[in-house]
Amino acid sequence: MIKHRLIRGGAVLIIIGFIHTAALGFTLEQFHFDSAQQETTFRELIGKLRCLVCQNESLAGSQAELAQDLRREVYEMLRAGKSEQEVISFLTTRYGDFILYDPPLKPSTYVLWFGPIILISIAAVFMLRLLLRGRSPLNRNDALDPQEQQRLNQLLAATIADPNNPTASSTIAEKSHP
């Protein structure tokens, strides 16, 4: 496949993906629709279809020749009364799922749609085990040991001497909370 590389030399982190969306060449004004509904369908549809030769751009955003041709094709199919679904299935037969930014749920995309759910579940179990370990009531011993108690007393004495230090006093208050 041809890589439609507009600009070489790389750019800074976040921008690379945008580079190909850069230059505008919209000729959408040539399209005339039977109804506002049809126009909305058209706009939404070309927004969800990928320009196959661009790095990461929708048909709506690209001015590559192929994108212009495909836009025209989508337009003509819609004008000919085809439904959105018919247009999509026509395009995927010809170009494969790669053209869809919104991959349909089917066996080959199960990994895509359910993968995150499985990963999140695994992560959640791992995280909960990590966090709740030792959370059993046996570990609820919040009482201070004698050494801590002694330190606390020292600090409380110091706080009284320095009442303008809310930082210290609040920390102590938290710790001494039974």
């Binding site: 507009l6 600009i7 030399g9 790389g10 750019a11 800074v12 982190l13 976040i14 921008i15 993906g17 945008f18 580079i19 969306t21 850069a22 230059a23 505008l24 919209f26 000729t27 959408l28 004004e29 040539q30 706009r43 990928r50 790095q55 990461n56 955003g61 790669f98 869809l100 930014y101 919104d102 991959p103 995309t109 990994v111 895509l112 993968g115 995150p116 990963l119 999140i120 992560a123 959640a124 995280m127 909960l128 990590l130 966090l131 709740l132 959370r135 570990n139 609820r140 919040d142 050494q147 801590e148 330190r151 110091a158 230090n165 930082t167 210290a168 920390t171 102590i172 938290e174 909370h177």
Partner: protein, 665 residues
Amino acid sequence: MIPELGHLALILALGLALIQATLPLLGTFNHSATWMALARPLAYGQFTLLTIAFACLTYAFLISDFSVAYVATNSNSLLPTLYKVSAVWGAHEGSLLLWVLMMAAWGAAVALFSRHLPQITLARVIAVQGMVAVGFLLFILFTSNPFERLFPIPPEGRDLNPLLQDFGLAIHPPMLYMGYVGFSIAFAFAIAALIGGQLDAAWARWSRPWTLIAWVFLTLGIALGSWWAYYELGWGGWWFWDPVENASLMPWLIGTALIHSFAVTEKRAAFKNWTVLLAISAFSLSLLGTFLVRSGVLTSIHAFATDPTRGAFILVFLAIVIGGSLTLYAWRAPSISSGGYFALLSRETSLLINNLMFAALTIIVLFGTLAPLIYDAFGWGKISVGFPWFNKMFTVLAPGLVIVMGISPFLRWKRDRFMRLIRHLWWLVAIVLAIKLLLISQVPIGVMIGMSLAVWLLITHGASVYERLQQRDRSQFTLKAAFIQDLRGSGRSFYGMIIAHVGMALFIIGVTIVSHFAIETDVRLSPGDSHVVAGYRFEFKGAVSSTGPNYHAERGHFIVTDDNGDHVADLFPEKRAYFGGGMPMTEAAIDPGLMRDVYVALGEPLGEGDWAVRLYYKPAVRFIWLGAIFMALGGLLAMADRRYRSTSPLAQITPTIAASGSIKP
């Protein structure tokens, strides 16, 4: 000569980094105070050398020294001075140099500002930073040297990518990098704590302000990138879920989880090993993001093979950093107690949900970004994963996160009573439900949900501020006096949280409104024609040729008037052809406003003075970035909390107390 000086400084910096990575660390084991004391001067030295290297490269750009290959590829003698400077980080080699320079700056800042940090901790933190610097400097020197000479010397440079010739983009990468690299501090603190086996509230208190400032930079960096994409690319969108955007979003999501997790670790000494894991993840994702983007692997797996040296180096480096720190974690973490007990209904639980949600969102972004690669690698066919997929995944999880966000400020640490919570929240819930009922028949369901979530955040946070002040009020203070006293004292992190969360509400409002009510039209206009969009009349006065410092432009003139015929703005969108070549660039013209943007972009000339024109009406789009600014301000305020800067002896004792209970023998 100057470029060689820069090169030499880089090599010396590598030598220094090697010492930095070893001696102070060894000193902490053989208790050599002298070796540990090297940490500070080494951090300063590293920063100085890298500043010299960076200055040399900048100089080469300023004098247009095209004998330096990197300058010749990314600059041009006609380039305005501002962009000659920003061109330094306009491509791979220079941006890596900026990265290490910033890391050294962070290291020097820690050495400078952490005066009351124990020597042993500082030595370890600086040493860990040194290790990362070694990796980066080796990578720069062996695969991506910006000082490489070119022969024969070209008479003229190839010019900076025109897309980068923009103010927003001049400052976007440094901001983003400050965020990425800032997480290296949290990472270094975490690794240092793992090495020492001392993970306590003191550790959290030291790392937390550093993590916050890194997060603030990252937030602003991402917002800048989004804003730039909006006005510079002429497509009117603000986020496309592009892999490079995702690469910056992942560290942000985990970083957000991290700053919340730190709150628990600092206040309750709980979540300790989880917090460490998050700190490691945030920096690992920063590295992964940088390298994923830099290696070109995102465009195509095969791009990875075109430059096998860089690719292999990246893989090995990532493996060492991530693998090494996770191994250390697995070795040390089990000896760390999980800390304080908390009941099912408590502030801890709400922050646990927060962490779970942010981790889940990160997994979604990571998975969605890598899924096309996974499919390709396993031969399952080529797929595209775009905004519809990400939007669906996010809209499933995000509302739950926002609901918990509203409840969390009311919850007490450790344990709370359900009835108490209900007493505080019932009327807020009632308000939101009333708004829902009111809106449900009027607006699309998405708007109803988005707006009620935003209102929920605003009223819950307003109420929790009121409640906090009420509690202080009882004796002698008026509400206002209590507020001022609170803000002077240790209340800043609380108000920081409130402001950041209000930022989230503003963000939600912006996203909701602009995605449902924006209007985009494409029209053909002849000079003198006009077109009405959302009540605004755009009159096209024609386009004229003009010349900039390094480009030719067609400059359109539009007069925008509102419903009443009152003048709104004169807009001058441009279509530019840069002398350096490449595709023509679009400079959109925007009349910005808090409640709406009016946006014009020139498309193609259609002959006889006619142009294809894009006219946009973007309501509330500014709320998106305003929200990000609020989040950043909140982060800054939280960082300024007195407890992070207090130097009274008492403040130094308290962490020890918190520590004494946390490490089990």
